[in-house]
């Protein structure tokens, strides 16, 4: 039987082979169907995410001006110097690191670290070498000699410029790089890792107005993260302009007087605040010593910051609101109003101050002179300590006068705003201390003594106030009984010039005191200037006010430098009625506080704050340019 000539063909194997083809293509097709049809949209999104990157475009920060539009903070161009590692030949690395370090004032090792780290991460992405903006001259120096700086690029950026620097730093504060913690909280609001944020002062409080609306740019990028082209652009919107209630002219007058005093070493620190008693607008706020907030704007160095922190005068603190001091005799206003309001005293309550001192249970209390017979107005005008000891706690000088007591003084003190922050639009406000027996028991674990009452009556002892609290209390007397919330924000203007609606300034409370008593206080304050402690020669304005001298340190002797060991701070709080009467018409009230005036070696110096106040107010109100 002849062999089948085609026996070499195994049909079943061919069928199996055909089946294998079918299986392979079925598997490929099913998988492809799943990827492209079932999950096509998902992968399409992924490919777009690959390709398209939305980059934020920073908005310029809004400016800050005084009430007349004088610019206090604006932005100027600065420069960022970066290196793109891929554009830097390795053979020139060392040379560049040294040159760049020298130009930017950085160790070349630090430059090398930054670049090498980035080379590992993403060599196509520029990395910033100097964290702080680079000045124009250095930036131009680099771009002009580009051949010496391979791989280096210089980009413009915005630097905050504080026009008057130190003069306004206590009010305006500064911006600084956002911290990691803040970023966690603010990322949802569009903050970015290399953003600046208001760190303190107005910059911090009104961050929401000043920070603009960031735009974005959609770019197409390749796998190496290089930008190919811009696909879409949303322009950023500049931040709003914040208009302050500050009057730059008054601020500069106040600052010049106080700074002169510090320079001449008549006192070591000074605070001056002026406000409109009729609405709580702050017209000027000076705290000396301050600091140049431009240092922060351009990136403060470690040594600069260390120097500021080492200064025991605490230049970073705005002492108008951030620190508290004994009020001294200015506090007699509170004692007086308490006694008048409670009816334990009237304008005709007389005390015969026949001696300079008296003793109660072994402690001696002094006045600065034996005044003779005083009524309320002369007692206040001459700032008799014994008169107000009597109103507060009763003394042997006037057995028929009952002391109003510490609880009442605390009650009216709190009504006038002491012991709690005023709520001004500045951060880190101190609350001060308005003591009473309960407070002493709770904090000192000791019962209140009559001596405490006497000290409280003249603003010594436990009483602690901020300059702003004291000013605001006097302003409420000057305006006829409304305690306004002091504020710095006058208006917010959008980039188009429209005013952004703001909440109206509001009073904290109406004083629960009679107009008659408030008028008596204004009259007495005027008498302080005309016949009393703050006599102003050649006065051209009907200024009213009250002096204060808060003592600290040892009670006698001099230190090795020949300085009085008994140090004292001086206060003068003034307000200017529209006419020389006791009507509540004042448009301006001002406090000046000079810290540690004891440097002047005299024993009985005239309070320096009085003369300064007269010059400032007369120049500001009368010598208009």
């Amino acid at each position: 039987m002849r062999e089948n000539p085609r026996a070499f063909v195994h049909p079943r194997r061919f069928i199996a082979f055909a089946a294998a083809i079918a299986v392979v293509f079925s598997a490929l097709t099913v998988r492809l169907y799943d990827l492209e049809i079932v999950r096509g949209d998902y992968y399409h999104d992924l490919s777009e995410q690959n390709r398209i990157l939305r980059l934020p475009v920073a908005a310029e920060r809004g400016g800050i001006t005084d009430r007349r539009g004088y610019v206090l903070a604006r932005n100027v161009p600065g420069f960022a110097v970066s290196v793109i590692p891929v554009d830097l030949p390795r053979s020139r690395e060392t040379e560049l690191f040294q040159r760049l370090g020298a130009v930017l004032g950085l160790p070349s090792d630090a430059v090398a670290d930054t670049v090498r780290t980035q080379r590992q991460r993403n060599p196509y992405e520029p990395v910033r070498i100097s964290k702080t903006p680079v000045p124009r001259e250095i930036a131009f120096g680099i771009t002009e000699r580009a051949e010496l700086f391979p791989g280096v690029r210089v980009d413009p950026e915005s630097i905050r410029l504080y026009v008057d620097g130190t003069l306004y730093s206590p009010v305006i504060g500064y911006t600084g790089p956002i911290t990691e913690d803040e970023l966690q909280k603010l990322r949802d609001q569009g903050y970015l890792g290399d953003d600046d944020i208001g760190r303190t002062g107005i910059e911090s409080v009104y961050e929401r107005y000043l920070r603009g609306t960031y735009g974005w740019r959609e770019i197409e990028r390749d796998a190496a993260q290089r930008e190919i082209k811009t696909l879409a652009l949303q322009q950023p919107i500049v931040g709003n302009t914040v208009v302050l209630t500050i009057d730059d002219r008054l601020q500069k007058l106040l600052d010049a007087e106080l700074r002169k005093g510090v320079v001449e070493d008549r006192f070591t620190q000074a605070v001056g605040i002026a406000m409109n008693p009729q609405n709580g607008e702050i017209l000027a706020m000076v705290s000396i010593p301050g600091y140049d907030n431009n240092m922060f704007a351009r990136g403060i160095t470690t040594s600069e910051l260390a120097a500021l922190n080492a200064d025991d005068r605490h230049p970073l603190v705005n002492k108008a609101v951030g620190d508290q001091y004994p009020a001294g005799s200015t506090f007699k206003m509170v004692t007086g109003l308490s006694a008048l309001s409670e009816g334990t005293a009237t304008r005709s309550t007389t005390v015969n101050v026949s001696a300079m001192s008296f003793s109660v249970s072994g402690t001696t209390f002094y006045d600065w002179r034996a005044h003779g017979t005083l009524d309320f107005v002369t007692g206040f005008a001459h700032s008799s300590d014994i008169y107000f000891y009597t109103l507060a706690g009763g003394t042997p000088f006037a057995p028929n006068v009952r002391g109003v007591g510490p609880e009442a003084i605390a009650k009216y003190g709190k009504m006038l705003g002491f012991g709690s922050p005023t709520g001004i639009d500045l951060p880190n406000e101190a609350s001060g201390i308005m003591p009473d027996p309960e407070w002493k028991l709770a904090t000192q674990d000791e019962p209140w003594t009559i001596g405490n009452t006497y000290q409280e009556a003249i603003g010594q002892g436990f009483v602690a106030v901020t300059p702003l609290q004291l000013l605001n209390a006097y302003a409420s007397v000057a305006n006829g009984g409304t305690l306004w919330q002091p504020h710095l924000l006058k208006q917010v203007t959008s980039p188009t010039g429209a005013a952004v609606p703001l909440a109206q300034a509001k009073p904290i409370r109406k004083l629960d005191m009679t107009q008659e008593n408030l008028r008596l206080l204004r009259e007495a304050a005027r008498r302080v200037v005309t016949i009393g402690h703050a006599y102003m020669p050649n006065a051209r304005l009907p200024i009213a006010g009250k002096t204060g001298t808060a003592e600290f340190g040892a009670s006698s002797g001099r230190d090795s430098a020949g300085r009085n060991k008994l140090g004292f701070h001086n206060w003068f709080i003034s307000f200017v009625p529209q006419a020389d009467n006791s009507d509540p018409t004042a448009q301006i009230a001002m406090v000046i506080f000079t810290y540690d005036s004891s440097k002047s070696l005299c024993d009985n110096c005239f309070n320096p704050a009085v003369g300064m106040s007269q010059r400032i107010l007369e120049t500001y109100l009368l010598d208009t340019k």
Partner: protein
């Protein structure tokens, strides 16, 4: 009987016991048409993947022109090969075997390194991937080997000697290193042995031995090959490293959707997310540009070509022709499976070109050579009829 063309010791057509006629009418028209369509498809994809490329510089049309020139060379080769009786290949099989090993040795010795492997040789400014040629030559050698031992196909010794024949080539390719192509050689061996009628238990046994020796193979693999295998199992374990290609390829394929983003409109490959988009990952670029529809058209063309090749093999006049046809079909099927499978993460990443679609002259001309052999087999089959 009839006039012999050449007076050499062995007859020029020694394996034919009956006259063999070259009949142009018996050329396989379906195979020819599908070949031309696939070549055209390949040129379109060359245009699409290089049109906006950032990997190359210069005029994108230069790649299309170069591809067209190679296509012309390929078709000339195919025609020339078809004219000759494939039996000649059998006559010179031992020589071809030595040529195969020689070419692979030359690559190892004088090859140009690229992407960490030494796979090509530069001659006169042109780059040749000799392993592409070697695959086709090896098909001829193995087909001849098994055709001649048809009577003793059940003997394990035949299998062992066959493997011994194969081993040097696999080793040389693996040393380049080119794991993918060495796997193609092994696949060809299995395909030819299978159609030659090798015992199933032997074939299954070989696969079982290979599976059992996986730990040994794993130890022999290079680090990057192990990384690729790990990445295949879980691309997201190293998304920026070994898993990158797989993830980006999946994104490219998936983002194509039903009908694709359009020719040259894909973004994954022009922007560099998809590496080696004109060759290894060309299918991902195709699926992104032309979508599911484009891929299905490609699959259809492949299926037609594979069945045409199988039909040629089935109708071949002798075992040698049948096994060559089977070997060519095996090679095509395996390369398609591995290349497409890699792009859609059904297979680990290996650098095997996708027939006709991957950009590259050596691959195209080699395949055209193989298809010329197929046409030669088709033209010389026995006339049908009683």
């Amino acid at each position: 009987m009839s006039v012999r063309p050449l007076a050499i010791p062995h007859p020029a057509t020694p394996l034919h016991d009956r006259p063999v006629a070259r009949r142009w009418t018996e050329i396989d028209p379906i195979l020819l048409i599908v070949t031309l369509l696939l070549i055209a498809y390949g040129l379109v994809m060359t245009y699409s993947t290089t049109a906006e490329t950032r990997t190359f510089t210069g005029d994108p049309m230069q790649f299309v022109i170069r591809g067209a020139i190679w296509a012309g060379v390929g078709m000339a080769t195919m025609t020339a090969v078809a004219m000759f009786d494939y039996a000649w290949l059998g006559t010179f099989a031992p020589v071809l075997y030595l040529v195969t090993l020689g070419l692979l040795a030359i690559v190892l010795q004088f090859g140009t390194a690229s992407l960490g492997a030494q796979r090509s040789v530069n001659i006169a400014g042109l780059t040749f991937q000799f392993s592409e040629v070697a695959k086709v030559l090896m098909i001829v050698v193995l087909a001849k080997y098994f055709a001649d031992r048809r009577a003793r196909i059940g003997s394990p010794l035949v299998m062992l000697f066959g493997m011994a024949l194969l081993a040097p080539a696999v080793f040389l390719v693996y040393r380049q290193p080119d794991l993918g192509t060495s796997l193609v050689f092994i696949a060809i061996f299995f395909g030819i042995a299978f159609l030659a009628g090798a015992r199933m238990w032997q074939l299954v046994g070989l696969v079982a031995i290979a599976a059992a020796s996986f730990p040994v193979i794993w130890a022999l693999l290079k680090d990057y090959q192990r990384a690729r295998l790990s990445a295949f199992l879980d691309p997201y374990s190293d998304p920026q490293g070994a898993g990158w290609n797989i993830i980006q390829s999946l994104i490219a394929v998936g983002s194509g959707g039903a009908t694709g983003k359009g020719l040259t409109a894909g973004t994954q490959s022009p922007l560099g997310y998809l590496p080696i988009a004109e060759s290894d990952f060309v299918f991902a670029g195709l699926a992104e540009d032309l979508g599911f529809a484009g891929a299905i058209i490609l699959f259809a063309l492949y299926i037609v070509m594979l069945f045409a090749a199988l039909r040629v093999a089935f109708r071949a006049r002798d075992p040698f022709g049948m096994l060559i046809g089977g070997g060519i079909a095996t090679m095509l099927l395996f390369q398609i499976l591995v290349n497409v499978g890699m792009a859609i993460s059904l297979m680990p990443v290996t650098g095997i070109p996708l027939p006709f679609i991957s950009h590259g002259g050596s691959s195209l001309v080699s395949i055209c050579f193989a298809l010329g052999v197929l046409q030669s087999i088709s033209m010389r089959r026995e006339p049908e009829g009683p």
